[in-house]
């Protein structure tokens, strides 16, 4: 279990840095990060299912200017790790446990937004250090201050991952016996509803004239085609 948690933390760190601080090649997107961590832990299908459900949820929240969107990367990674670990310890499988992990992780992931904000606030201190280094004539020190910013983003990523994970490990074992049966009646529909809610939010905020018309036309055409063929 410890090894799984640490491997999850490693993925959380790398993907967390890709989110803002380095590269931005989108390995931080839930559709990549969740299957990646699940693949490392030996159950890639769990990650893929979580990736599908989380990917579209906050896609409409753009990282524009100083706006900080919710940390869907850590939600996806931590809920995949939770689903795999708890699946083994509770001897449970199926979409119900996966959904419970995700539904607990989503509100806990809100904390990630505060960590992310705090990291950016903390980095303001680096400005003074850079100015001081330049006054002292040390360009190397000024350069190093920039790289120090990576530490705060790393801590924010790991912090969110740890909060979601610890919260999940404390809450889910208690909820699981109570909710296992009731969840089984609605799990397949909740699994379908989560990406659809994400798509609806994108539709409402995408800022394209006739977005709803285009969407409905595409939906009806595709649906009719699948129905007829």
């Amino acid at each position: 279990m410890i090894v799984s948690l640490l491997l999850g933390a490693l993925v959380s760190l790398v993907c967390g840095l890709d989110r803002v601080a380095i590269l931005q090649i989108m390995i931080s997107r839930p559709i990549v990060a969740a299957p990646l961590v699940a693949l490392i832990l030996g159950e890639p299908q769990i990650g893929l299912q979580i990736g599908v459900m989380v990917e579209l949820l906050w896609l409409a929240r753009l990282p524009v200017g100083a706006a900080v969107p919710p940390d869907d990367t850590q939600v996806a990674i931590a809920s995949s790790v939770l689903a795999i670990i708890l699946g083994r310890t509770l001897n449970a499988s199926g979409i119900e446990l996966l959904l419970l992990c995700l539904l607990v992780a989503i509100p806990l992931g809100k904390v990630g937004q505060y960590f992310d904000r705090y990291a950016r606030q903390y980095n303001v201190r680096l400005i003074k250090q850079v100015d001081l280094a330049l006054d002292r004539g040390s360009l190397l020190q000024a350069e190093l201050q920039h790289l120090r910013g990576l530490t705060s983003f790393s801590l924010a990523a790991i912090g969110t991952y740890a909060i979601v994970l610890v919260g999940g490990l404390l809450i889910i074992p208690f909820l699981w016996p109570l909710l296992q049966q009731p969840l089984s009646y609605s799990s397949a529909w909740v699994q379908l509803a989560l990406p659809l809610v994400g798509i609806a939010v994108i539709l409402g905020t995408i800022n394209v004239s006739r977005a709803i018309t285009l969407f409905c036309a595409s939906f009806c055409m595709s649906f009719l085609l699948m129905w007829l063929v």
Binding site: Q24, M26, I31, H146, Y185, V201, L203, V208, C216
Partner: protein, 257 residues
């Protein structure tokens, strides 16, 4: 003195770390200074280098994929500034300020608002089918355009300096952003239909029921437009489905009893 290809490559690589010290006060300011430093070191020495460096640690913010173009153009201007007698400092500062905000707006609309949902929509078709290559498909589809922007636009920026703005204008990127968003909406429409149809088929329910999905989706879209948070929408939807599921299970057990 022209900046060597090796130094330009060094700068390009450093631009991948542009946001490492992103902060609420100067946003990408320190990162922009960090990226340009290898070039500035070749152009200026001692006190002059420190003076120029102070100028670059100030406020700067643009889209991360278009920053290389600004960096390339600024590098060219600094090169000219170092070669000729006369002070162009104000001109370089003005150029940087003039292009940063419009480039940020173009990039946000094109990449975050258009390309990202488009690539996600395509990849999710594969993911819903359980194909494990879906993440790789997403990474490939998404990264082709940003990589092209990061490299070609950096080269263009350095080659053309201030005229690089015309290069952006020629490509009519705001129009492309709208087309990409429209394509994303169409793909997401197809994806929704695919997911709903698969679910109904799996549960052996009549297919026409799927058309009804449009009603709650359009309603949720309109509510989201009014500013209701996604988290709240998720909670309302999940709780509603959960209780409907429980109620339906009771109805079924009563009928069978």
């Amino acid at each position: 003195m022209a900046i060597s290809r090796r130094t330009r490559l060094h700068i390009w690589l450093r631009l991948l770390l542009l946001q490492a010290s992103w902060n609420f006060e100067r946003l990408q300011g320190i990162g922009f200074f960090y990226s340009l430093l290898p070039g500035l070191r070749k152009l200026y020495k001692k006190e002059k280098l420190l003076d120029v460096s102070r100028k670059y640690v100030g406020y700067f913010n643009t889209h991360v994929y278009l920053a290389p173009m600004v960096a390339g153009a600024v590098l060219k201007l600094e090169e000219e500034q170092a070669a000729v007698v006369g002070d162009q400092t104000l001109e370089i500062d003005n150029f940087k300020e003039m292009v940063a905000a419009p480039y940020a707006a173009i990039g946000d609309a094109l990449f975050w608002g258009g390309l990202r949902p488009l690539a996600a929509g395509v990849a999710l078709f594969f993911a819903v089918k359980g194909i494990l290559w879906a993440p790789l498909i997403f990474i490939l589809i998404y990264n082709i355009v940003p990589t092209w922007f990061r490299t070609v636009f950096f080269v263009r920026g350095y080659r053309q300096g201030m005229q690089s703005v015309e290069f952006i204008q020629q490509h009519r990127l705001p129009d492309w952003a709208i087309h990409t968003k429209e394509t994303a909406v169409v793909i997401l429409g197809g994806l929704s239909a695919f997911m709903v149809f698969s679910q109904l088929t799996q549960h052996q329910l009549p297919s026409w029921l799927g058309m009804l999905t449009l009603i709650p989706m359009v309603f949720l879209g309109l509510v989201a437009r009014k500013g209701l948070s996604t988290l709240l929408l998720v909670l309302i939807t999940v709780i509603s489905i959960f209780f409907i599921g429980l109620f339906w299970a009771d109805v079924v057990s009563l009928i069978s009893f």
